[in-house]
Amino acid sequence: MLLSYLKIAWKVLLRRKFFTFISLFGISFTLMILLVLYAMFDFTVGPQTPEKRVDRLLFINRLGLAMPGSDATSNPSYSFLERYVRPLRTPEKVSISTAGGSTVAYLGNNRLDLDERFTDAEFWQVLDFDFVEGRPYNESEVRAATRVAVINESTSRNYFGTARGVLGRFVEIDGVRYRVVGLVRDVPATRRFSYADVWMPITTSAEDIRNPDYLGSCIAILLARRPADIPAIQREFAQVVAGAPVPKLGGMAFKEVRVYAESLLTATVRDESNEHGADAGVGRLVGIVVGLALLFMLLPALNLVNINVSRILDRSSEIGVRKAFGATSGTLIGQFLIENLFLTLLGGLLGLAMAAGMLHLLNGSGLIAHTQFGINGRVFLGALVASVVFGVLSGVYPAYKMSKLHAVQALKGGTNV
């Protein structure tokens, strides 16, 4: 039966080429936009290198000091994280690094702008970088403030003219020479808590690690033993923060310290929104995004509903015949929905191909450094879900209308063969 439905669906598509083109264009263009956005989202906060184990990671990146009338918000300081995060018992590992900054390297007379990040040794254990050559710097090198660095392939190419065989060579950053001990694949700039061009031991940074203030320019990344441990880590950290003394700054008395250990998505949203309350605004953001996506799909869906309804009038003879030979209303609704899903899945496939092309263009444009946006299993699944939602959204009403056609009327109004 399914084969028969699909045969009909294919013939109907071929019969009215112009309508088919309009429908498919509407569907595939809409899905392309949605898929590009979803792929960007997935490559920003999904389980990708180096945050492959994203379901086991927590991030502490904003700290707010609340006082009546105004608040002070920034990254937490190294000393705050060292004192209140490093000793946590529930996580498997804790890493502290700077929030990232830019620097300049000179190669002869050429200036090379680089994004830098100073990290501890745990950084390389908590995250999963793809090492092309060498190794990460270790704990003793960090403790001894050894001037070693891990660089990415782009920096290696730009600085040394090659992306291989650069271990042991020196890169001069802000007038200080660092020996390259590791070479990793480029990390997209969208990975805001791990991305850099060059990574160096945090003990070699200009960040005053003895600064006792709570506010500074660092972040912490926590690795849980298993995803189920995440709430326990958050609880433990909340307890520790509640017990931390509220600091006084220049005679100002703060009321409360607000700092949270959060998922990559929440931390990214918080970083972007600069929100320092308990709610980073993820729910609101998801609501807005889903609402906009549905709204965005509504127009082409309505267009498809219109086209489908007019198609039904074309096919009233077929509907009459099917009813006369024993098709129930439910069977007819099923048939029409399958036909419509066939169309929208076709549109989804086209949209997927167009999205792949668009993402390729975006990667090549250099708009965002080292982006590797692409179509993965999750994006493919997203395309499938969106196509099905689209198919059902635009198919239910016409299918219902079709099934309610009176057989005698349908046979009278039908075009004859």
Partner: protein
């Protein structure tokens, strides 16, 4: 090998069908009483608009009477749910329409298979086999892969008859099956229907305008202005 016409297949009692619009009430059928017996070939005649097609639609369970009772297997149809009615149409009735109503986008074979799509328990292989048998009966075995638009009117009607036959229904309802055909093709189709009735014992009710064809059937029912006049 003809069945004795004693077992009732369909019984219509005091059937009335009234079409009501805002201003006008049109009586399409007025107190029609009719029993169709197994193995009969009955023709229905009458001028245009006298209610012949309405009567056939009622007999085919495609429409409901305004009043009166239709019985299938001695059970009134109002006691069947919509789903059961669809099942009855599938199992017991085969339709042949004046304008064929084949599905353009399907091949001859797919068109003929259609009624069996809605019958549970019949697989694709059996469907195909039975469609080929039905097409063989109407002399169209060589046209299985053609599309309706590639056939003549007479051939299309043969396909429609094969489609009506495939489900082995108790009764075939034919609404002016030769109405769109020239006399030669019309005779061919009539011969086919007569053959089915006489050789296979298929019960047939046929609406026709053609006196000569009507005379070839066993029983003739005449309608005038919605009433049975003979």
């Amino acid at each position: 090998m003809k069945a004795t016409p004693l077992t009732p297949v369909l019984r219509l009692s005091e059937i009335e069908k009234v079409y009501q619009t805002r201003d006008i009430e049109t009586v399409a059928l007025n107190r029609v009483n009719l029993t169709i017996y197994k193995g009969e070939f009955v023709s229905i005649m009458g001028p245009s608009g006298c209610g012949k097609s309405t009567l056939l639609s009622l007999m085919g369970l495609l429409d409901e009477p305004t009043s009166g009772t239709i019985e299938v297997n001695s059970r009134p149809v109002e006691s069947y749910s919509d789903k059961e009615l669809a099942g009855l149409r599938n199992l017991k009735i085969g339709f042949v329409f004046q304008s064929y109503h084949l599905i353009n986008d399907l091949t001859v074979l797919d068109n003929v298979e259609l009624p069996l799509l809605y019958r549970p328990g019949i697989g694709g292989k059996e469907r195909r086999q039975r469609a080929l048998e039905a097409l063989d009966k109407v002399g169209l075995s060589a046209r299985t892969g053609h599309f309706p638009s590639q056939l003549s009117g007479g051939q299309r009607q043969r396909v429609a008859i094969a489609r009506a036959l495939i489900g082995r229904p108790e009764i075939i309802l034919a609404d002016e099956p030769t109405g769109n055909l020239d006399s030669v093709m019309g005779e061919e189709i009539m011969a086919l229907l007569l053959g089915l009735n006489q050789q296979e014992g298929t019960t047939i009710v046929m609406v026709t305008h053609d006196e000569q064809q009507a005379r070839q059937t066993e029983r003739l029912i005449r309608l005038f202005d919605g009433s049975q006049v003979g």
